[in-house]
Amino acid sequence: MNKVLVIAKKELKAYFRSPIAYIVLIITISVFNIFFFMIIDQNREATLRDVFKAMEFLFIFIVPLLTMKVFSEERLTGTMEFLMTTPTTNTAIVLGKYLGSLIFFTLIIGLTSSYYFIIEFFAQPDRLAILTGYLGIWLEGALFLAIGILASSWTRNQIIAAMSSYATLFLLYFSITFIKYFSGLAQTLIRYIGTWSHAENFAVGLLTTADLVYYLSGIVICIALTRLSIDNRLWR
């Protein structure tokens, strides 16, 4: 456990030692702010439902930028050999790296909490819906991060890592669009696998076991696959 924290701390520091962290933070928050203003201005409703939707969509673009270097850089520079010859389990390495990026991501989400205070100041929003909405986008981001980290463990090339996570995230997000071409079991399956139907419930204040299980199991599966992927010695 201790090692998980050590690695998470190192990951987090690595974000802030490079300009990526600041660029991502500033651009993301600025874009979120613009969307927040536009949506609130247009809807004139004291709800963050559509803001959450916009944020969710933007995550697809941001998360791969955060995760692309997580494992691929270590492989490229040979530091993976260092990590894996210290008395640290592979599970601790994967969990530490995941935790590090999750904390950074939580920071981004945390910075948007001002939206709540703004609408609370002007109206009476449904607090519960906002809370579950935040939980929803946080879980969604956590799943995206797990996918991005898995993609990063496949290759030593950061561009390939980013592209594979973009492809996977787009598929998950837009799968609902193609649902009309399928029927029966395939349709149910696609509806379940796609993120669209799950995130929506959270934004309107619905907390269902199915949605929680969807996100949590997705995260666990991706982490387990990442663990397998770095264990795979073919690439060494």
Binding site: E81, P87, R236
Partner: protein, 240 residues
Amino acid sequence: MIIAKQVTKYFGGFAALKGISFEIGRGEIVGFLGQNGAGKTTLMRILTSYLPATSGGVFIAGVDVAKNSLAIRKKIGYLPETPPLYTNMTVGDYLKFAAQLKDVPIKQQRIQIDKVLTECNIKDVRDKTIGTLSKGYKQRVGIAQAIINDPEVLILDEPTIGLDPVQIIQVRNLIRSLEYKRTVILSTHILSEIQQIAHRVLIIKSGEIIVDRSLEELLSEFDSNLEDTFLRLHSAKENQ
């Protein structure tokens, strides 16, 4: 201390190591000698548990490397061919990170870091970012990382590559100062280096050990310097 039994390693159809066996006692300094591509790095990676052997086994202090790699990794310090450095970290931060991962007790960490900074002569760059350092400094930071947990076994893959003559002497002295306390394995293709540090030489050629002798024995038998000996043994093997 270290026993290798019939270690074989295949990469696909290519045999990188073909049944290598040797024993290394505590406190010995052993040099792996061989041309580029002879299998030195592969052998070292197997010793550190980073790569699994296709067949055969390695035992360090009686423990099977493949079966109990976590226990083994506590005992070894390893410097890979390219020093494994995080270029955007400072030297101090990096060594702290290494100490934490290598189970150096919290109270000991500062002491150990100071010790290796002095031993490797890198105190002056403690707060510098690793990426800005010269090759020689980077190499020494790599060595510092390897000895931070006072390992029983030190495995150094080409430790003096890229260093200037003064630094090479420093590194040699450093390795020699570890004599009797630790078992040191180093690989190199620079013959004079082995001659000056090692007690024993393993000459590896195309994945096989062609010579396993104490340095003294080897030199007296062939009555010449190591370079001639190496070349003679090498061509003798080729003519077989």
